[in-house]
Point group: C2
Chain length 486, copies 2
């Protein structure tokens, strides 16, 4: 343990009394500035004296002064520490807690409501947690991951340092191409894959290469994943919402000037509806006719519980209109931050260049570990295992909703994914119901939260139930308690 | 090994002859499409038959047909594989190799020269590799990193899945704050740190929050780090270059309308000059007077070989004008992709929100491992060790340049960093010298490469010598050979 190795102190080349004064002053300033933080251990006087080129006696005298002034504390046998009783306001530049009330004139607006002030708050964990979009990692084979990660690290250790390919590690692109070819019939090779830091970066990079600020019209579904819309508006897009029904996006309602259309055809977010084959064909025809681009977000379709999967839009696409976005945040875990785009040839180089501009390339270790995890079949095995776990939870959820909420909640049919949704068929608004549920220890999102304007008249009214975090055994009890609140 | 776990095949619910035809056709299409790639192993017939709900005899018949047609190969005792003799053009959508010649009309220009077409090429490794900006990882304690990484993974495994803070893991921000407080006298606490995916993302996010496209004037040094300028131009900045001399940036030459000023005061990139205290004060006065922002890129100043460090601009700043950018790509390794901004209070929330929009947050594992690596003193120890290694190389380089290149190369004084530079005092242009060197197995960059227009008259003419990758024992021989080429 040697956290303090080079305290930036500059000394005049003069007599020893000046040196003592300087050492004392600079150490005290460092403590008051917050550079030397409360609890920090100071170097031994001998070591620090040697490094600063002063006598040890000078150092001892400086420490003694600071000790007597209460800036330092000596713990016998354990060294000298910065006292932690200094007033908070002296400890650095963060005395103003919380976000500033107004945007500083030096800042450019981010074009996202509330974006300039504070990061999104995430709801706290509740006893019964039905948050959507989060997988269960309890059964994840972390031991295998650790082994593959160690192996990748040994390989990195053997190579001279270098920057890597912005497109992503070749082994990972190869593994992803095989994976999506089999699971989703997405026709692609490793060359077509651009690795991203989760789906969020994929949306941002696609916005970067497809949106002319202030001009490009981007269509999203009536209810949508908020971060997708934010990525588009932040890039300057004119975002319009398009109604969806039991067949998914109402293609005939697309504004003719839409140049980018964002859809979740496998498992509409958040309603769970699958887009019908007719609508898929119509959407591709629209894109082909108008030279528009479709962003297909296929975020959790690995988890399918009944029926046969419909072809991905990418699979059906014959005009290179579709950019297919996938993520490992749902099939593995979000802390990994890995996703990808299957990009048509015309978009690929620009997308790679956009990634290079954004952050050069992703961390190599995680990419290499994931490549091996996929190639050795662990991903497939984990998905298969989790499909059973989620399937059982989903069945329990459906049963509980039928038993306790019939007439009040109408489940929206859906065959896949990590959550299901239901329309609220009572007089209450979904956000009010969600607030009552939160007070009772149940977390779940209202569907209106995923609308452009949650307070607009006629906004969809319902609830989403994620089953990634909640144990099967909790579900019936939680839904029974929820039913009493509706 | 079970790479094929769910081939997306949909079957009609009809008689067995139709089923055979469908299974055969869909498998063949998958092979021709490239979804089933050459060399891929197919599932056992029994397993696939079970999953598709057809009889095993039907599956066997389908495989037999494909075997007889040459689409599949059976390896006795090892299973059935996709043949790898299919013509390349049938294997996916990447038949057109190379970048397209023109930008597709659907793409928005990236505002960076050549950006829309192909990613930056990196020079190949040479026998004598003087590339700049790359550290030696040969002495990096990868075993310690592996242990810390394993420990972090065990902690992640115990927690339910969740997204993390866009600002960065608290433990890492705490560790970085202490680290830069001591090594660079940068006054900050964990609250002031925003973790980024390397310095590149830091530049991009700062550009995002500071640059009004088409309007904001950003000043960079006469010679500069190309990715920094690209991040600025890609954000729509009007980039202007400002001369530098032996004291660093000529502050009096700054255009009054400059709103963002990007500097490398500790070790100017690429010349290595340190900005004088007078210029530092003048720059901060300029920023304060005009409400401009200074981006201080302190990329490799941990490696200091003589003299005392000058205070960071951030340390001197009393007007919250400075955004300090640090990176671990040089002190650790670039594959890690971790850097940070010490942001003034007025910029912090916007910066965090910009990161959230860009990719939500960085991978948790690498952040947690780095936090422990710093907190346990390993970073300090590694830097101290490497400072000796680099110091010896630097001394050897200076000696070799004096011995072999006197009169032809004039070394630019500098006390820190991973490279040094020299002006070329012959009639030849630096890029021509670099080409001759490359032919002789020596890689090094010409200084003119770091100019806005490398071909402009009067562009600086010199060479940079990185000593991160080259062994001390190679240096004298390489410089002797280089001298013969100058």
């Amino acid at each position: 343990m040697e956290p303090l190795f080079e305290l930036a102190i500059r000394l005049p080349g003069t007599g020893s009394r000046d040196l003592l004064r300087e050492v004392h002053r600079q150490l005290r300033d460092a403590i008051l500035d917050g550079r030397l933080q409360p609890g920090a251990r100071l170097p031994a006087t001998r070591a620090l004296a040697g490094r600063l080129g002063v006598s040890r006696n000078t150092m001892l005298a400086a420490y003694d002064l600071l000790l007597s002034e209460g800036y330092l504390l000596a713990r016998p046998g354990a060294g000298t520490y910065v006292a932690d009783t200094l007033p908070r306001s002296r400890r650095g530049r963060t005395s103003k807690k919380g976000a500033p009330a107004r945007r500083d004139p030096r800042l450019v607006p981010l074009n996202v409501p509330g974006a300039d002030l504070a990061p999104t708050l995430q709801p706290p964990r509740a006893r019964d947690d039905f948050r959507v979009g989060l997988p269960d990692t309890g059964a994840f084979p972390f031991d295998i991951w650790r082994r593959l990660s160690d192996r990748a690290l040994r390989r990195i250790a053997r190579e001279p340092a270098d920057y890597a390919q912005p497109q992503g590690q070749a082994a990972l692109r190869e593994a992803i191409a095989r994976h999506v070819s089999f699971t989703r019939a997405v026709g692609c090779t490793a060359d077509d894959i651009v690795v991203t830091a989760g789906a969020q970066q994929a949306f941002g990079l696609l916005a970067r290469i497809l949106v002319v600020p202030g001009r490009t019209v981007v269509a999203v579904e009536q209810l949508f994943y908020p971060s997708l819309r934010e990525a588009m508006t932040a890039a300057g897009a004119k975002v319009v919402t398009v109604p969806t029904d039991v067949e998914g996006l109402c293609v005939e309602r697309l504004p003719p000037e839409a140049r980018v259309i964002c859809v979740t055809p496998s498992h509409q977010f958040p309603t769970g509806v699958a887009m019908s084959p007719q609508r898929r064909a119509a959407l591709l025809a629209f894109a082909r006719a108008r030279n528009a681009v479709v962003i297909e977000d296929d975020y959790d379709s690995e988890f399918r519980f009944a029926g046969r999967p419909l072809d991905a839009l990418q699979t059906l696409d014959r005009a290179e209109s579709v950019c297919y976005v996938g993520t490992f945040s749902k099939s593995l875990f979000p802390a990994l931050r890995l996703g990808f785009v299957v990009a048509p040839p015309w978009a690929r180089a620009a997308l790679v260049r956009a990634r290079e501009l954004a952050d050069w390339h992703g961390p190599v270790l995680g990419q290499e570990a994931l490549a091996a995890f996929i190639a050795e079949g662990h991903l497939a095995r984990h998905i298969r295992k989790m499909r059973k776990v989620y399937g059982a939870r989903r069945a329990a959820l459906l049963e509980a909703l039928a038993r306790h909420c019939a007439g009040r909640l109408e489940v929206i049919p859906s065959d896949a994914g990590l959550h299901l949704s239901a329309w609220l068929r009572t007089d209450s608004r979904d956000h009010a119901a969600v607030e009552r549920a939160a007070a009772a220890g149940i977390t779940l999102p209202p569907l209106s939260r995923f609308a452009f304007d949650p307070n607009a008249p006629g906004v969809p009214n319902g609830l989403a139930f994620g089953y990634g975090l909640i144990d099967e055994s909790q579900i019936d009890g939680a839904i029974r308690r929820l039913a009493a609140l509706l």
